[in-house]
Structures are given as structure tokens and as C-alpha cells.
Symmetry: C2
């Protein structure tokens, strides 16, 4: 289903925001009044203020991928219970799809005891991905994409299976944090007979606004994160969507060593990244969105972009094939000394910080894997970042209002 | 300093929001454009869009107390390093006050290597409280308020010292989560020679908006939380501020048992709370803000509000003396099975959920302690909530633009 609706945010807001790679509504925080602000020029304020902000659930592709990034992301991976088979998987997906469809519309699910926590969707999206274990349990491994397997081990990996491959994943994103929490509880309860949650990862991002235009959010290293992303339908079709309307979802957990990073001066940081900090522009010149020119040399004949910079290694060597859609969120979790006490050096840090780095691509074998192999082998940023979690899922295509996630595969 | 400026949010926005006990800007999420929205009717949009949202740092009282609640709260408690004395405490507070003043104005601190993460304050506030240990280290225990000691053990407590009393605390609140994270890092670094962070607690809240008016946020049990709060200057003077312009800050960590709560029907919930869920109105009648009438009986002669409901026990028996300002934030932390795996029952829950319940009052001996004693002994909600952390601090009065926190005490 190429060429059709990347999930734009309702109410005519997003074309510009989307084209700049960022969500206008993603900027606007928690509540309905924010939508009314953005819409003041288009609709009567009184009408707008009561209209919740929603992202269409059904469509050619699942929402939460091309959707402009919301403020909060909770991604939860589940294991199927013993004895799962095709019938139980169908039941689970029928329940979950129906519940998610209602939640994203701001409609409480049936038997919700806290319906008041469902009424401000805040651009809620729920995106579902299947692991290889789901295909095996359902007896349809022959239908699984050939790339659906654990990623190879990269040189710099220090993976913990705590955040590893699982049978099924839900990415829940929204601008109202309370609604995101409630949606997770609803879905955990709804699926309790069929799956056990195994890991969850939460993240946030804040989109800056200048002259009314959303900009690229920054990660906790202070760099803009998300500059290079597909934006047009054609780019999304070439880089993200497969023929089934689905895509490959990879969730890498990347830990940041904040104290070490903070000992590094700004010019060293820029060399390591290959971009300026203030503008996010490649060191080869131009503005933030200028093409990276890894071959360009300065007056002294030396490359302007260090060959081992993050940008030099991350830039596609193979046109669209190596490209992907990045949807990274910052995490910064509370840390406590605990009754037993931590070592002094750990306490000074008080930092459990990094990125829930989620990316979507047609085929990881031609995109994420070659790019990450280069980064793992040579990225100067590896001195301060460590990949500690890795999981791969097949996100099936979108639903039509009646169907459930993966019905074509399982039905 | 009675009767003076509770910290209103800049730009003429808050009087109405403040009087309704909620922050207009607290609603508006992350970025500068949101301020421009709220201000569209008052100032030219172009000017407003570039103006960051700030809360004045200096004033008769510290900000972050009467300030309308922002979206995010990170509260961090520190222990003084061995050998701390009055001189080192003075140095610490001079550094921290200066850094916090700049951060809250959207001005990077000196030598900040990530100044780009400081430029959108998003109503940032930093509130500092002193524990008894700080007074002792500085040799000024005679100046400590007589109420500054660990709270008594309450019947229902299951306290973990992980979140217990410490020497000094910073409550960092703001609408831009990235800015809050960065501010914490700046302050941890700035104080590293003098203090070690010992615990941190993070929380969020989302303020609903109806017809453009902010409402009371809900906690993760689905109840409105924060209905009863001082709002006028006179109420704040009577309930919160002491003669030094300061107050007593209590941080209780309250864990919610979500799975058990979710097994309870709505009428049982309302009886346990003593309020309706939808409106948050007392069961004795009236709207959300109606006075609670614990003596009122129904046609059957029975009390409308159960004597062991939360509201019946929490309602002041002693006028202003028992009242306090509640500034509670929800927490909902990621949970993982971990390599060793959790028990099935724990996995089903996937919930580390509750409240970072912070309250401010003149004297806990006449307010928090008698109220909490009643709640600990009899509150029906105790079946589903557990107090797991407790800490008390003296928040000294505000600063004047040059002075540092507690200078009157330490100088």
C-alpha cells in the first residue's frame, strides 16, 4: 500500500509540521486547550477547545510511526503464555486492536473502571509489533519476514536481555502522560490471559519552537536528534513501508555516560558528532538539513567531517536502502542510593540516562545492520554511549476499522 | 512576610489559574509557542512566540510552592560530604542559588557545556529545603525550626529509608522535561564538592482543560487530586508561610496497588474516597469545591460520607491549623522482568505506580501529623495505598536577587 497517508494528526495541523519532520501537536503538551491554540486561526476557539486531539487509528499503515512524535513514549514487550497457539493469538489481537482503537479515539474501553483517564487522548497512538516467537506459536513461521531474527552482535554491544527480543510489543505514545499510563494498564489487563509483560521502556522529548515553527528536539547530550528522517510519502515508501503496509521496528536502548560526556569540551563534541551543536549543521557546511559531504576538505586539505564521526558513519552509503525513520526518546530515570548505599562515584552521577532509540525500516539487513556495524566499529561517540538493549519486531500493516492487527497473517 | 506575592507565572496569565488552584501555564506543555497561545488575546503573537515562560526566582517566598503546578517534578535529596561545616554549606548554597536563579530565567550557568538545554525554562522552578543534618553540620541547630525532625511512625507506614530524611533537598519542576533533566545535572555538578545525591523521585501530572479553564488533575487511581488547597494570599499566609517567609516541606512516597484497585467497583471507590469520581464532589453534596459535611445524613439517617473515607479523615478538624498545600505528582516507572525473571503475579502487574506526595505547611505538628495519624489509623484507601517514603525539610524564605538560600540563617 505505497503512497498512502502517513498518519497525520487530525485537524489539519500537520502538513507543515510533518514536512519539517516534527509534530506541531507534539509540541503542544498535555491538554485540549493547546489544540485550540494552534487552531485559533482556523476554527472558532470555543469549538476547538473541547475537541480532543486524536491521531487516526486505522489506515494503510499503523499509527505511531510516521506520526509526528508525541511528548511521551512507553514501549512494552510481552511474552506469550505457555500453550499459546493461533487461536489465542487471534483472541489477544482482536481484544487489543479493539481496545487500542477506542483508546486512541478518546473512548473508554468496555468495562473500564477509570474512563475519566481515557477522555483526553492527547494524540495517543498504539503501535503493535510481532516477534519471531509469535509467528512460531501461531504456527505461521513461514509467513514471518525473513529479516525477523535477533540482530547480529555488534562490536560495541553490551546487551542485557532485560531489554531483549520478545514475542510482541506495544509502543504507546501520546502528549498526555496520564493517558499513556492508563492506556498501558488497560492493555495489560485486556491481554492478561494471553501475555505477560516482560519489559517496559519510557521516554520523553520536548520540541522547541522558534517563530511558531517546531524544531528538532535535543537529546540529553545536547545534540539535535532526528534531523535526518524521511518526510515525504515517497521517502517513506522507499525507506519504511513494505508491500504489506508494514515495517521493521527496532528498539535499541542506548545508555549515556553523562559524567564522562560532561568532561568533554564543545569542539571535541562537534568533531565526534560531525555536526555543530547550536545549529546541528554538518561540519561540511550548510544548515541543519544540508546534505552531509564526507569528502569535503578544508583549506588545509583535511576532511571537514572526521571519518570516525557519528555522522560520517551513520550517513547512508546506499541511497534509500540504508535509510530509516528514527523515533528516539530520551530517558532519565530516578536513581537512589538504596539502603545498602552505592559507591561514591555512582552517587555523584545520579544518572540513568540515555535514549530509547526506536527506528523503522523496510529491511534491517540493508539499513540498520550495515549502518550500526560501521558505528559499532568506529563511532567516536562510543566512548560515551553503550547499546544495552536490542529487540526486533515486524509491525504488520494498518487496519481498516474492523480488522485486527495482523489479521491477514493470522485469519 | 505575609500577604506578598505567591509566585505567579509571568506574563499576566495566572491570577485566574492560580485562584482555581491550577496553573494555566502548567497545562500548556513544553514550548514557547504555548505561552504565545495563551497570550494571543493580550500581546502581539510575534512578540509572544519568542518569549520563554518563566516563573520569578526571587521573592518573599521560594518559587515552586504556590506556583501553579508544572507538568514535571524531579525532587532530589542530598547528603553533605564528610567534614561539611558552615563555610562549605555557605559555599554550596551560594553556588546553587546563583545557578538556579540563572536556570529559571532561561540563562545558562557559567561553564555550562550544554547551554542549548537551558534556553527554554518552561516555567522551571527550583525549591531548596534544609534537613536537620544541615543545621547540625553548620553548627546552627539552635536556629532550626522545632518541628524539623523525622515524622513519627504512623500505623500504616511501610517506610524504606531509600526515600528518607536527608540533609538537603531540591525540588525541580517545569513543563519542559529536557530542561528539568538538564537543570538537575547542572546542580549535581555544581554541588559535587559538597554533597552527594542520595535519592531522586520523578513525577508528572496532566491538567485537563474544559472550555478553556484548567481543571483538577487526576491521579492514577482516576480521582481528582488537589481539590482542597489554599488559594488566596490570606489562605497561604494562614496555612503555608511562616514568619521567615519559609515553610515546612514533606515528601511522602505513596505506592498504589493498581491490580487490587482495579478489582474494586466504582461505588466502593467513591465510598472509600468520600467523593464522586466524575466530579470529585463530596458525597455530602454540592460541586467539587463544596465544603465537606461529615455530619450530613441521608434519608435513611446514615452519614452520606463514610466516617472512614479518605475525605472524612483528611478534612481539617481545626480550621487553618490542620490545612496544607498539596503538590502531588504521579509516578509510573518502567518495570522489567530482569534476567532472573520475576514471579508471574508480579509480571502481570508491570506497575511501579503511585504518588510523589509533597505538601507544604506552617507546622507539621498541627497539620500533617494529626491528619496523617487519622488516615493511617482508619482510611479505607489504605487497602490500596502504602506510604513507603518520608522526608521533612525546612524551606527557608525567598531570596532578593543577590542573596542565597538561607543566608539569614547561615550568614
Amino acid at each position: 500500500m505505497p503512497g498512502t497517508d502517513p498518519h497525520t494528526v487530525h485537524r489539519g495541523l500537520t502538513r507543515r509540521g510533518f514536512l519539517s519532520g516534527l509534530g506541531t501537536l507534539g509540541v503542544l503538551g498535555a491538554a485540549g486547550v493547546t489544540a485550540s491554540c494552534a487552531d485559533n486561526r482556523e476554527v472558532p476557539a470555543a469549538a476547538a477547545e473541547d475537541a480532543p486531539s486524536t491521531v487516526p487509528f486505522d489506515g494503510a499503515h499503523q499509527a505511531g510511526i510516521a506520526t509526528p512524535p508525541q511528548s511521551h513514549n512507553t514501549t512494552v514487550a510481552f511474552s506469550l503464555r505457555d500453550g499459546a497457539d493461533r487461536t489465542t493469538v487471534q483472541r489477544l489481537l482482536r481484544i487489543w486492536t479493539g481496545d487500542a482503537r477506542r483508546l486512541c479515539a478518546g473512548t473508554p474501553v468496555l468495562a473500564d473502571l477509570e474512563p475519566e483517564l481515557s477522555t483526553n487522548p492527547g494524540n495517543l497512538t498504539v503501535t503493535c509489533g510481532f516477534g519471531a516467537g509469535l509467528y512460531a506459536a501461531a504456527g505461521i513461521s513461514d509467513k514471518a519476514p525473513s529479516w525477523l531474527r535477533p540482530l547480529p552482535r555488534f562490536a560495541a554491544d553490551e546487551l542485557d536481555d532485560t531489554w531483549g527480543d520478545r514475542d510482541i510489543v506495544l509502543q504507546i505514545c501520546g502528549d498526555d502522560r496520564t493517558t499513556v499510563s492508563h492506556a498501558l494498564r488497560v492493555l495489560v489487563r485486556g491481554g492478561a490471559d494471553y501475555v505477560r509483560p516482560s519489559w517496559s521502556q519510557t521516554g520523553f522529548l520536548d520540541i522547541p519552537v522558534t517563530d511558531g515553527e517546531p524544531g528538532t528536539p535535543r537529546n540529553l547530550f545536547g545534540f539535535k536528534d532526528g534531523t535526518v528522517n524521511p518526510r515525504s510519502d515517497a521517502e517513506l515508501d522507499a525507506q519504511v513501508w513494505n508491500d504489506d503496509g508494514g515495517t521493521c521496528m527496532i528498539v535499541r536502548r542506548i545508555a549515556f555516560d553523562m559524567p564522562e560526556w560532561e568532561s568533554v569540551d564543545r569542539s571535541t563534541r562537534e568533531v565526534a558528532m560531525g555536526r555543530t551543536i547550536v545549529e546541528g549543521a554538518p561540519l561540511s557546511g550548510g544548515d541543519e538539513f544540508a546534505d552531509v559531504d564526507v569528502d569535503k576538505v578544508g583549506d588545509d586539505g583535511l576532511p571537514l567531517i572526521d571519518a570516525h564521526s557519528h555522522v560520517a558513519l551513520a550517513t547512508s552509503r546506499d541511497g534509500d536502502a540504508e535509510r530509516m525513520l528514527r523515533r528516539a526518546y530520551n530517558y532519565d530515570l530516578p536513581v537512589t542510593a538504596g539502603p545498602a548505599g552505592l559507591q561514591d562515584a555512582e552517587l555523584i552521577d545520579l544518572s540513568d540516562t540515555g535514549l530509547v532509540f526506536t527506528c523503522f525500516q523496510r529491511d534491517p539487513r540493508t539499513s540498520f545492520i550495515p549502518v550500526q556495524r560501521r558505528l559499532a566499529d568506529g563511532d567516536r561517540l562510543n566512548e560515551w554511549i553503550t547499546h544495552v538493549g536490542s529487540a526486533v519486531f515486524h509491525v504488520p500493516g494498518g487496519t481498516d476499522g474492523e480488522s485486527y492487527w495482523g489479521e491477514d497473517l493470522l485469519g
